[in-house]
């Protein structure tokens, strides 16, 4: 099959999932299976004085109750996997169940195991915990002050990490013609996948093997971390991620809950299932963002940008999550210059413990925040010097000729042509005319705003040496095996772990194109540590750029070997064999050919192989990229604000993304749409609200507003293609572009609409009341 790469094929996964034939965690039923529920702390900070579990244990059908004390010494703390170096990182141990203190609402206190989930849930109400409630701290800047409660008694000022990168001399800022300063809050939001988290453990007492099905974006990382926590050999721990209803970063983390389920299954020698409840999910699953970002952008009055100085104060919650420490530091701090050639940059980050649910990577992880601050501040700079925001962007873009380009923080941008998507977006918008219309409508008293975000993001995690240098406890290369069966049908094993991205389709397309076989002849296997030797999972828009590349290389290797066999059978030299449309053909001799299927049979039968060649047709690739990939593009939003109420209507959304070579435009566009929904959600509707004592007020979907389809206009999406040189597919990453770009695009549009009222910033989410108040205040001035 030629030209499969680049074709808009429908997702191979969908018929199965849409007809109810998916197999999600909750679909798994095992003989003799027990059910677990976790009693969670109702207090943000308290000392556990005593736990009375007797009543619960007496209840018919309750099999066991475990507390933190019961598990002490039997099961280790769950560590963070991103130990950012040179940051004075202080990791407080997170035990699977709290031992003496609870540190956030949702902290696990007891594990109840019962014959069915109803008994288990009822038993939850029978456990009495005596707490001594302690003062809590919720806000990260408050948490750093003297005299506030300490989340962990031995960690001063609640500072988990203090990290710096780059240096901007004071003179550069002090002597600059223009300095624009602003403080932005990228508020805490919830990834909110449709499916909550889950885990099912099954222990085989004979073999000593523990199988754990769990909602994981990275089963091999789960295996690596949990084998340590549970004290079980990696060879005896099998982690499987079944079908998953999304992750968005919230299922990267190795949580205490999975460890508890694994422990109980082994301890009781019966399968144990735990399904997180939706209300539980709000406090027990990691949140995203929660960063206060202070920015100074300095330059000349002609629009030449000289320096950016940033301070990020990040709320890490009560414990360090799996990737938490890396988000506001590495992911954010090295990308603060965005798509612009700004010679001087520095970032200082404080990661702070508070009595809240831990934060971790959420779609974009650090890059949406980095994009947000630079794209917002550049608009304010343009306003300050009276320049069109597009013109200022153009003036400072990293030039096409400059790639590969090293930014001020030392990252090497692989490839780019920032003007191209901008041009295309402006054309789609009909920008000049739109501005004209905006002026006309403003005379009629209408508030129209146009906002842009010309983003670049770091994706495709990544080069192993760099991972090591930045303290990431993983190799982040990728692995694939392409196994050709005697019939010529193919099974492909991949180390990435899709949960909605559609890899069975896109990776299948790569294999179909490489091997010249139909899509239907290809089966892809993911997410099982027993059948896939190693892999680092799916997050950070890495799957196609790293995992897809491994698939591509392994497929090439299969062709290479097959070609040798074909040459041998056709008695031709290997150089004379051309492989096209699934056929090995002797150059210039029509009819002298072998099909891929014929060679598959030959290789597997091994009746007549070239001298010294081993049987079978199978190849593996371990692909370690030399660099990250840097997708970029332009997103533009057009909004209208209701002057009387402050309500915002998103009138148009135009995006042109350059994600390198696009494997499947249809699924790529789907990814962009979803990403935009989550970014716009952050800008306009979503936001965690805590009371002063650490209670989550926005803890149900009645209060926490997820974006709905009817809130959106048709998204006008397009791509430009600037291949990446760092992988054989030329692919970058597409899963996070929409989120990374759209928050700033929408905010800039609203700020543009509110320009008559001299509004510079409104804290997200932009509820109509906040906008209405900004208009009132502006009118008062």
């Amino acid at each position: 099959m030629a030209n499969v790469i680049g074709a808009s094929l429908k997702r191979k996964e969908d018929p199965r999932l849409l007809t109810g034939n998916g197999r999600f965690s909750d679909d798994i039923q095992l003989p003799g299976m027990l059910h677990a529920v976790i009693l969670r702390s109702p207090h943000a900070h308290a000392k556990i004085k005593k736990i009375h579990a007797e009543e619960a244990l007496k209840s018919q059908g309750v099999v066991a109750v475990y507390t933190g004390k019961d598990l002490e010494g039997k099961i280790g703390p769950v560590p963070s996997s991103w130990l950012v170096p040179d940051a004075n990182l202080k990791e407080a141990p997170q035990y699977p169940l709290a031992i003496d203190y609870v540190r956030y609402v949702g902290d696990g206190v007891a594990l109840i195991i019962a014959e069915d989930r109803y008994v288990a849930r009822d038993a939850l109400d029978l456990i009495e915990v005596e707490y001594e409630v302690l003062p809590a701290v919720v806000h990260q800047k408050e948490a750093m002050q003297e005299g506030v409660p300490l989340v962990h008694g031995d960690i001063e000022n609640n500072i988990a990490l203090h990290w710096k990168a780059g240096e901007v001399a004071d003179e550069i800022i002090n002597d600059a013609e223009v300095v624009v300063r602003e403080s932005f809050y990228v508020q805490r939001v919830f990834p909110s996948p449709l499916e909550t988290r889950a885990a099912i453990g099954q222990y085989d007492a004979g073999s000593g093997e523990l199988t754990l099905w769990c909602t994981s974006q990275n089963p091999h990382i789960h295996r690596m971390v949990l084998s340590d926590v549970l004290g079980i050999s990696e060879a005896k721990l099998r982690v499987i991620a079944p079908d998953m209803g999304g992750g968005f970063g919230g299922k990267i983390g190795v949580y205490p809950d999975e460890a508890l389920v694994g422990y109980a299954a082994r301890d009781l020698k019966r399968p144990v299932k735990w399904i997180e409840q939706r209300s539980e999910h709000f406090t027990a699953s990691n949140a995203g963002r929660d960063e206060i970002i202070d920015v100074e952008l300095a330059g000349k009055r002609d629009g030449t940008l000289l320096a950016i100085r940033v301070k990020n104060t990040a709320n890490l919650g009560a414990y360090l999550s799996t990737m938490g420490p890396g988000v506001a530091t590495i992911d954010f701090g090295l990308m603060i210059t965005g798509a612009y050639d700004i010679p001087h940059a520095s970032c200082e980050t404080f990661g702070v413990y508070t009595n809240t649910t831990p934060t971790d990577a959420y779609r974009g992880a650090g890059k949406p925040e980095a994009t947000y601050q630079i794209e917002r501040i550049i608009d304010l700079y343009a306003r300050e010097i009276g320049m069109d925001p597009i013109e200022l962007r153009r003036k400072n873009f990293v030039r096409k000729e400059a790639f590969p380009y090293t930014n001020a923080q030392g990252l090497l941008y692989d490839s780019g042509d920032y003007e191209k998507p901008l041009e295309k977006a402006l054309e789609t918008l009909n920008y000049e005319e739109l501005r004209q219309k905006q002026r006309e409508l403003s005379k009629q008293g209408k508030l129209i705003g146009i906002g842009f975000s010309t983003y670049v993001e770091l994706c495709g995690f990544g080069p192993s040496e760099v991972a090591g240098a930045i303290g990431f406890q993983g190799g982040v290369w990728e692995n694939s095996t392409v196994r050709v069966h005697p019939s010529g049908k193919v099974t492909v094993y991949c180390g990435t772990s899709p949960h909605g991205q559609g890899h069975a389709t896109t990776f299948g397309q790569v294999v179909a194109e490489k091997l010249g076989i139909p899509m239907d002849d290809i089966e892809l296997v993911f997410s099982d540590t027993k059948s896939i030797s190693m892999g680092w999972g799916t997050y950070g828009s890495r799957s196609t750029a790293v995992g897809g590349a491994a698939v591509s290389i392994a497929a090439d290797r299969v062709v290479e070997k097959a070609k040798k066999i074909a040459a041998h059978e056709l008695e031709a030299s290997e150089e004379d064999i051309v492989f096209e449309n699934g056929k090995f053909q002797v150059k210039g001799v029509p009819g002298q050919q072998r099909t891929f299927q014929e060679i598959a049979k030959s290789a597997n039968m091994a009746w007549n192989l070239p001298e010294g060649m081993e049987p079978s047709l199978e190849a593996q690739s371990f692909f370690k990229p030399e660099n990250f990939v840097y997708p970029f593009g332009t997103h533009a939003a057009v909004v209208e604000i209701d002057k009387d109420t402050g309500e915002i209507e998103l009138k148009r959304y135009v995006c042109v993304d350059d994600v390198g070579r696009v494997i499947n435009p249809l699924t790529a566009e789907g990814q962009v749409h979803g990403g935009i929904a989550q970014g716009v959600g952050q800008a306009l509707w979503e936001g965690a609200v805590y009371s002063k004592d650490g209670q989550l007020l926005s803890g149900t979907l009645m209060d926490y507003a997820l974006p709905k389809a009817r809130f959106f206009p048709r998204i006008e999406s397009a791509f430009t293609e600037t291949p990446s040189p760092v992988n054989p597919l030329g692919a970058k990453g597409v899963g996070e572009t929409g989120t990374t770009a759209s928050i700033a695009a929408v905010m800039n549009a609203v700020m543009d609409a509110l320009k008559p009222y001299n509004v510079k910033d409104i804290e997200m989410p932009l509820t109509s009341e906040k906008v209405w108040r900004a208009i009132q205040d502006g009118e008062g001035n």
Partner: protein, 287 residues
């Protein structure tokens, strides 16, 4: 999200529904569409010992005209109400209101009687019920009684519903032929409930003055209300932009504005005025 254990039983008639309640010793709770009750049970905010399902009682699904009122059977779903020809002809405000409740699934399950009996302060329906002088018809142990909606709903989730009784229907007054009506709401972005919902009916007589006006407002506080100050200001006046603006300033007069982290009481008051103004403009000034 698992409720405590409960029994479940079907009632085949109104009489049986009452008897089953008597037999449950205060543990029984009627269920129709269940879209308000089940979430409360899953949160364990309510723990009925027995659910008495009344959804099969077919005579409670009828809609009929009785004199100057339309009687809507308690089990009429929001979806059915929004499409019912009698409702659309005589009390289009009700159709307009229930059409904006929740989503399709909710409208397919949720019922007029269940909605009123639940008395959720954030519900849409009370706005129309107040504007249409609704009466709640209740069958109890001692026979039938009728209660005006403003006497029936006395607080958030609190009604004057007697023990062991069932709402069989809600009747609505047919407004004069020459009036027009509209329901306008500000949707809460999370729940879809109205942060403010304004149901308005108004008409002008041959001489061009407003001779009929009813405004019901819901969502803003613990209980829906009639905006009588607005009504009084408008009665006998000639509709004009200035008149509407002046009257709408009083839209929050009879209400008590609540507040939460999403909207302050000051903003709710403001929304009351703006949405009342818009509702009145659309029925009194638009062609």
């Amino acid at each position: 999200m698992i409720p405590v254990k409960f029994d479940y039983i079907h009632a085949e008639s109104v009489e049986q529904a009452i008897r089953l309640q008597q037999e449950s010793n205060g543990e029984g709770k009627l269920i129709a569409g269940g879209h308000s009750l089940l979430p409360l049970m899953k949160f364990r905010l309510t723990e009925p010992g027995v659910l008495i399902d009344i959804s099969r009682i077919s005579q409670l699904k009828e809609v009929r005209k009785e004199g100057d009122r339309i009687v809507v059977g308690a089990l009429t779903t929001h979806h059915a109400a929004s499409n019912d020809p009698v409702i659309k002809e005589h009390i289009p405000l009700l159709a307009d209101t229930v059409r904006q409740i929740g989503d399709l699934q909710v409208r397919n399950r949720g019922t007029i009687g269940g909605n009123i009996a639940h008395a959720d302060p954030a519900a849409d329906l009370p706005a129309a019920a107040f504007a249409l002088d609704a009466q709640v018809i209740i069958q109890g142990e001692d026979g039938e009684e009728t209660m005006p909606v403003d006497q029936f709903i006395v607080g958030p989730l609190i009604t004057m519903m007697p023990e062991n009784s069932i709402v069989t229907a809600v009747s609505f007054a047919i407004p004069p032929r020459h009036t027009r009506s509209v329901y306008l709401k500000y949707f809460h972005p999370a729940s879809g409930y109205p942060v403010v919902g304004v149901a308005a009916i108004a008409g002008v007589d041959e001489s061009g003055v407003i001779d009929f006006v009813r405004i019901g407002i819901t969502g803003v506080g613990d209980i829906a209300y009639r905006a009588e100050s607005v009504e009084q200001t408008l009665l006998g006046q000639t509709p004009s932009e200035a008149m509407i603006q002046e009257a709408s300033r009083l839209a929050a007069e009879e209400g008590e504005m609540g507040n939460d982290f999403f909207t302050s009481s000051e903003y709710r008051e403001h929304l009351c005025k703006v949405y009342t103004e818009r509702a009145l403009r659309s029925i009194l000034l638009a062609n």
